[in-house]
Amino acid sequence: MTDRLLDYDEALATFDPVLGLEVHVELNTASKMFCGCANVFGGEPNTRTCPVCLGLPGSLPVVNAKAIESAIRVGLALNCTIAPWCRFARKNYFYPDMTKDFQTSQYDEPIAYDGWVDLELDGETYRIEIERAHMEEDAGKLTHAGASGRIGDAEYSLVDYNRAGTPLIEIVTRPITGTGAKAPQVAKAYVAFLRELMLSLGVSDVRMEQGSLRCDANISLRPSSTSPLGLRTETKNVNSLRSIEAALAYEIRRQAAVLSSGGRVTQETRHWHEEGYTTPGRSKEQAEDYRYFPEPDLVPVAPSAAWVEELRATLPELPGIRAARLQAEWGFTDAELQDVVNAGALDLIEATVAAGATPAAARKWWLTELARRANEAGIELAELAITPAQVAAVQALVDAGTVNDKLARQVIDGVLAGEGEPAAVVASRGLVVVSDDGALSAAVDAVIAANPDVAAKIRDGKLQAAGALIGAVMKDLRGQADAARVRELILERLA
């Protein structure tokens, strides 16, 4: 990594960022888009293929009705117009992950277009305009043979076509302006919203780590909000909410450095690396020429108005409405709710509350202690090795006075380390609060005796000095005491 980067604040003081997001969602239909092969993740390579998804000569695709239904429902949920008539098109390119040397996609006739979503972020509303949501098929999966696993130094590549033909919806925004320094957060909030939306529609399992929701993040910079759009880069391989934010912040800093030194941004595809930087991929200078043309093997899709209305009636409570309902039930402020939504913690908190915790306690654990651990591990909250029920159990131990907050964090350590249920961790690690006043008193007396100066101050009425003694007692008892009780004992003795 040799990119020069401008300081983020300086970059934003000098330039106005413009975003564009392309999100691919794999649909969770039982079978593939154009054939009856099972649509499931992983499995033994090349065990779910047939003449159609292998692109064998003479095979003919037939459209999966459920995939069309899902596409229409997604379009409706994104406030799009549903095309009364549209076609599939061939996108021609040569790459070994496509058996047919073309991808069956949609070109100038997407099934859904002209939609919008409103996002709430830090008390501001950002309207994201949706240009289109179109249907297409996924490609096979390449594995590059070589020391690094990267394509550049691979001697050859291996292809598994199990994923080839999986139905996809690609959702494309119009250029998103007016987000300023919040651009990376808006992008993250948008993808988090789409994830929630797909879950509520039940059309995809949207597991970013498995690639069933993938984001390509476009960004360009311009001198001011009234200047024409600058040249953009498209960062691919951004496979977590955190990465979206990080990759865009990186590109803002990198492009700002290029532009500030009088350079020109190269319009290109870039790859995001989890280590925290992007590298150039295919240059887009030679505008891709996919020679799209209508797919002659498929007839047009013409959803009747009646069918569209029937599907509209199946739309569930959409995320914004659900979030508002949960906010009312839980008594969260707008800011608290937004933090929860943006952290992707709505489901986790709902499940934790269902398991018996109070909403406030559930929010506290997921958004502070657990968010910190997910952050450190570079993973999503939902990927932590702790379930909402276990979080509720930890809180129950706190409520019962078995452990204090500090010990509860050690219980979480244990659960995350695979030591079992919270109660088992408490037992195996011996993490019980010392509630025996005899043991506490002895520890308090010892600390007072060892710190006569501090004790004198407290006797003189400087009660805030008690903190030092409480800390010392807690340290002696390895944190296994109720700090409030320790304070009481100290003040009793030094009254």
């Binding site: 054939c35 009856g36 999966n64 394509i151």
Partner: protein, 98 residues
């Protein structure tokens, strides 16, 4: 519609067909004749004839979302020039920097 040798070269590149300078020169006028022949269709079609991409006057030909048996992996891979670990083995992919 004049087709230049450079356009033929570009088409060859997109189709991954290696063409010599001599071939692009020969093909350019030939493609021009083909395009002109196809273009005569639009002279026949009046404004009342919408462009079509399909011979059949059908829409919404769908299948139910039901899983059908796939081919056995051995049969699928038997057709491949090279395989490894149950996967198709393909030559080094060029033209990508990553």
């Amino acid at each position: 519609m004049a087709i230049t040798a450079a356009e033929v070269a570009r088409l060859g590149e997109l189709a991954r067909i290696r063409l010599t300078a001599e071939e692009t020169e020969t093909l350019a006028p030939q493609l021009e004749v083909i395009l002109a022949a196809v273009a005569t269709v639009s002279e026949v079609a009046g404004d009342d004839i919408p462009p079509t991409s399909h011979a059949l006057d059908l829409v919404n030909v769908f299948r139910a979302d039901e899983v059908q048996p796939s081919l056995p992996a051995e049969a699928v891979l038997a057709a491949a020039p090279a395989t490894e670990d149950g996967r198709f083995r393909v030559p080094r992919i060029l033209g990508e920097e990553q």
